[in-house]
Amino acid sequence: MKRIQLKPLSRIEGEASLEVLLDEKGRFRDLRLKSDLFRGFERFCVGRPVEEMPFLASRICGICAEAHYLASLKALDQIFDRPPPPEVRRIRRVFFLAGFLRDHLTVLSLFAAPDLVARSPSPEAFGGLKDLGLWEDFLEIRRALKEILELVSGRKLHGGGGVPGGWLKALGPEETTEIKRAVSRVHRGIKRFSDLWQEELFRSLDSRNTSPSLGKKKAFLALSPDFVEGRLCGVLRKRRLSFEDYREAFTETVSGEETPTLTVFQGGHTYVVGPWARFVLWPSPKTPSLRDLHEMILECLKQSENPFSGVLHFLRVYELVLAAERLKEAVADLGPFRPVSDEVSVPARREGVGLVEAPRGLLVHHYEVDARGRLSRVRIFTPTAQNYRALLEDLKEFFEKAEKISEKVLKQAEKIVRAYDPCIPCMLHLLKLDNSGTS
């Protein structure tokens, strides 16, 4: 048996390596995705006060910190029975969407760009983006997003202010105006950015050999029709389903320390979460700019049940525009804010579940607490862990079709990994089920 290692996989979030096993004749046998990023959040958070959890959860992942923060906060709202009033929901939404946009923007600009420009990109760092003439736009949108996050949460990353049912960062009239101004800059920047990307993506989709294809998918899962306040919905073999509890939708099959928890859709099917699932499950948009883009992608997906991996990046461009629209709507009636949340020290319920649509898909934070509000069980299902089985299946299918595992084939395989946009720090923080109690 021969072993080929891609170490590390490049241009993804966090470090991982891909190990491909070949038989004596050089044919594909098996593969493994490996990473050293296990940090044990589900274990060391047990015993700590549950209200600390958003602060800790944010540190699970610096890339989608805002999504973890909000999912955690939603679980807290339930545990303390404090539904957030509309003005708090609005602020949390602005916080979440700014983080969401930063994530998609970064993935497209830095990770995907060199794969997608039709011509070969300059070898220097950030070459793909500079070739497209998008470098300055990229920095300008990021600056505006940073301002929004600092104003809303105090810091550009791992900021906060969330308490059960509330938010502690006050907003004065000037800060509100600044947020609105920054959101306009984001909106304008994304428009320019997505126009250029669309041209480039179409060009790259025409030259099909640049983008390997993905396997056919039967099941999709997402909150619909909103990133934060949607209901849990799924599609299985074109049949639409809705769920009251995430546990009706998927179950865990394998869970091991230092390997991701594998989850399967009801009936044991492999499923997909993230931009693709949202596209399948959410209604068509009404805004003209989004409608055209939506129809173009729909057309691409209709052409083949095995879409080219580049289509997933196209979906991210679509979601950039969509999230920028929703951010603009969210700040339209944003006014000055004074925190009012009073302390409640005793949990009203022993269990809380928070769901959000993180950039990579459905994110679940599920906590159990004791009478004093100390965490007795922490379960976190990240989108990357949920997509893991689909990614492995697609990679296997791709390698099985390849006649020879050449350097070129390995580069193509890396594009499949990137299309799924895995977030390795998120994926590996899990624990064995039999180890979930307090120690």
Partner: protein, 272 residues
């Protein structure tokens, strides 16, 4: 300037990717990135094939838990003339260091190799990172050790305090603009080194201590400061509210705490 970047056991939030909009354009243009998996297609061989001290600098984020991570950091120490440890995990073990309470956990990078430049924070504030990179370019060592506590930068009003019951949060407390400790909310500001501009207390939530201990025994010092403020008649009430002393006093630096060394020694004695 030839440079390498590596994220060991990290959430990814200290990676330079997060600071692109904060860095001077000239800085990015002068860089020749030899190894940075997040933005370039280079594999590990690139590093191994470099001559000794062939890199001008390397930036390391995250803590060290596996042998592979340790080997990578030792390799970077060998190849880079100057090393910068970026973020709380690299410097103190950070939040994942809390895993030590369960018996095992990661080590700070600074306990594996010596680093010329220390960049504290979870994540560092852009200003902190910019200053550190400038020090790196000027070939100066920088540890930020000359700073006072976060309290010196805090916009809230300092007051002498007596503590009865500990509070978790409250809108009233935030809006008052008073020192959190004076309002019965635990804040790590007095024992945490400054440089962040007290961004968290300024935004309405107490300091979590991410810039690291101002002096040795920072956790013990905070406990001592609180204990001296507790009203004796309400000591039981205070203790009742102190749900998670380890997480509260050693949040970002348990991996470096002498308490941990004591526990390890005790565990070893038990096994022997």
């Amino acid at each position: 300037m030839k440079i390498a970047l590596y994220n060991a056991l990290s959430c990814g939030g200290c990676d330079l990717i997060f600071f692109l909009e904060d860095l001077p354009g000239s800085f990015l243009e002068d860089l020749e990135i030899v190894f940075w998996p997040e933005v370039c297609d280079h594999r590990e061989e690139v590093l191994r094939n470099l001559p000794e001290k062939g890199l001008e600098a390397a930036l390391i984020c995250g803590a060290i838990r596996t042998r592979d991570q340790e080997k990578r950091v030792l390799l970077l120490r060998n190849k880079a003339r100057r090393l910068a440890a970026v973020g709380s995990c690299a410097l103190y073990g950070g939040i994942p260091g809390l895993l030590w309470e369960k018996g095992e956990g990661p080590r700070p990078v600074t306990e594996v190799v010596s680093c010329e430049v220390a960049v504290p924070g979870c994540p560092p504030e852009p200003k902190t990172l910019r200053e550190a990179l400038e020090a790196l370019l000027r070939e100066e060592d920088s540890g930020g050790k000359d700073r006072g506590p976060v309290c010196e930068e805090c916009p809230r009003t300092r007051r002498p305090f007596r503590i009865g019951r500990l509070k978790k949060w409250g809108g009233e407390e935030v809006l008052s603009g008073d020192c959190f400790l004076a309002r019965g909310i635990i804040c790590s500001g007095p024992v945490t080194r400054g440089g962040c501009g007290a961004v968290c207390p300024g935004a309405g939530y107490p300091c979590g201590g991410c810039y690291g201990p101002l002096e040795d025994l920072a956790g013990e010092r905070l406990l001592s400061a609180l204990a001296s403020g507790v009203l004796p008649a309400r000591a039981d009430e205070f203790l009742e509210g102190l749900v998670d002393p380890v997480g509260t006093f050693f949040r970002f630096f348990l991996a470096r705490s002498p308490l941990l060394r004591l526990r390890k020694r005790r565990d070893e004695e038990d096994t022997a």
